[in-house]
Symmetry: C4
Subunit: 205 residues, 4 copies
């Protein structure tokens, strides 16, 4: 089938992107569905006090899905066609995204800090699955535009590690505020590294 | 990445619009998900009597999301490309839209009028976030088609203020019917102002 | 704004169709969300016996949304551009579609037949709203391809009456089986009439 | 209407695919919506121990929808236009897909094995509905690109039988591990057969 389809790889890729977008959009909107107003409240301060943990969890998970969508969009903007292997690895990502509303619920129900590492682990796993998408596309399925190996490996590293690291650092920084500096360092470092790796072949060419 | 992507800004913009549409569509459909028929009812009049507040809240929030979608569509119809900053500001809008089902529930559960200002505040915040989208796109990211500064500022003002003003005036008008006149004035005034500002440069050109 | 946008009417129309499709798709999928398996059951026969009314309501509402989507697709396939008025009338349709999961719940919870006329009324109202979409598009907004007035009026009639008539006749036919003959007559009659009206101007031309 | 629309079959087909994708995406994301964290848990091992059956059911149903989406995409990639009959048969598929969250709930609530055959039956029914889509498209509506009859029948067989067989074999293999060998045989056998049937006319041509 794959060779048959190759002439229409674009349509396949297009449909896969639309399908993924729909799953991202639904997961992000379902985050709020289990949040209900408290039974009794008096004034806005009391309301927000009572709903604080839920709204915070919502904001965190919204940001997580946002970062994942952003990463997904960037990965797919480098692809020129799709095949069954991409379908499969992409489904792993979507399956984990679909579980985020559940992870978010876990986050706001548990106060003892037990849920935190599980949540961060789930987000890190999304990164790993996204790395599998890119790894398959770049190294096995050859679905990308031509690019230097260094760039392909750099993208793989960024895609795989970023979600887990950013989420873990965010959680860490809430307790230890100097973690934010670490995060800024991470983001700018990766961005600087990315620019160097991307430019290098451009100079060589 | 942003300069790399610039040649495909359209694909990025297209995907962002589709993603936003999906979030709007899901939020608008989830509005009704917490509405259930009453346990006991006799005849249509009794049914609608009991469900009145919920159906009214549904109608109000449906109109709010409708207005926001309309505004979002108009803003994005003026853009020619997208970048990471647009992704980010747009996510703020979507995050607030995703909370509207919750705000709606708040609206129908509270009779004491405490929920009203919170709901209006949430809608006003959506306007502010939408203003951030347009402000970023027009003044920082330069993502729009070329347009006179006056027009860009007028759109920013309209986009930022309209949702909150319209929602607040609607609520106000339910108690003080002459508020509707104020609303009509607002809509027609803005429309007239918009036409003048848009025409002015056309004459000058 | 409308004249400004007119050059891009297609993009507007495209986005409106996608948005509507998403709402239809979500509403149709949410139909099943309140259906849960019974607490206790023994064997498939018992399970289906207990879940019968819910599955039947699901099937009816699925068919209703299917017919409405079909009708919506046909109406929009005749349009060449969109404007704010189309947005508005279309939102009326979507608002009623979004309430169908609620109507379906009403249908399966009430055995006394009280819910039936309310449900049929809701479906009939969707037809009326769809008629408003077509009426606006064809006679006020002039958004359609050029077509003879007879055809436009015929489409308006079909779009407005069909959902309510088909739904009412289906319910009627469950009790009085000869209602199915009436329904077949209605469908074939309208189809025959449609063909005559559409062909007439083709002959004249 | 059908002859009228024929010139725009592509737009119809496109809209039908988007609509189906949205339903698939929503159903797949709703799978997790009824999964909630347990009341009490201590440590990750306990949490996963308690949530095991639900997460396993989620994974199974996610894979089922994934396979169905894959199959749906392949079927529709062979179509060149759409008509009302395709709408209708496709709605049967979507209606069964929309019931999968319910089937999944059944799966994790029942331990006695009673739910298993019902679930497998539901998945097999999706295959049958998908076979109806392809059967209608290939043999009645003539909506496909030209292809040899042998290939059309082979696709029909694969599309009809695969979901039920794969799901049934997976369930069987959990109890009898040698079932996995049977499944591998099935997948590779069908793939080999498919290649032979597709190549044969290519050689003849």
């Amino acid at each position: 089938m794959s060779d048959r389809d190759s002439g229409r790889g674009d349509a396949h890729l297009h449909r896969l992107v639309l399908f993924s977008d729909a799953v991202f959009a639904i997961a992000i909107t379902l985050l709020a569905i289990e949040i209900h107003p408290p039974e009794h409240w008096h004034g806005a301060a009391d309301l927000f006090g009572q709903m604080g943990p839920k709204l915070l969890s919502y904001a965190v998970s919204f940001a997580v899905i946002g970062v994942c969508w952003f990463s997904h969009r960037r990965v797919f903007s480098r692809l020129v066609r799709a095949d069954g292997g991409l379908d499969f690895t992409n489904f792993l990502v979507l399956g984990l995204i679909g579980l985020l509303p559940l992870g978010t619920e876990l986050l706001w129900e548990q106060r003892g800090g037990q849920a935190l590492p599980i949540y961060v682990g789930q987000v890190a796993l999304i990164g790993v699955a996204m790395g599998a998408v890119w790894g398959y596309a770049a190294f096995i399925g050859k679905l990308t535009e031509p690019m230097p190996a260094a760039e392909a490996w750099f993208i793989w590293l960024r895609v795989t590690l970023l979600p887990g690291l950013m989420c873990g650092l965010t959680m860490f920084s809430i307790v230890h505020p100097w973690g934010w500096a670490l995060m800024a360092l991470l983001v700018f470092g990766l961005s600087w590294l990315g620019r160097r790796i991307v430019r290098a072949p451009a100079k060589a060419a």
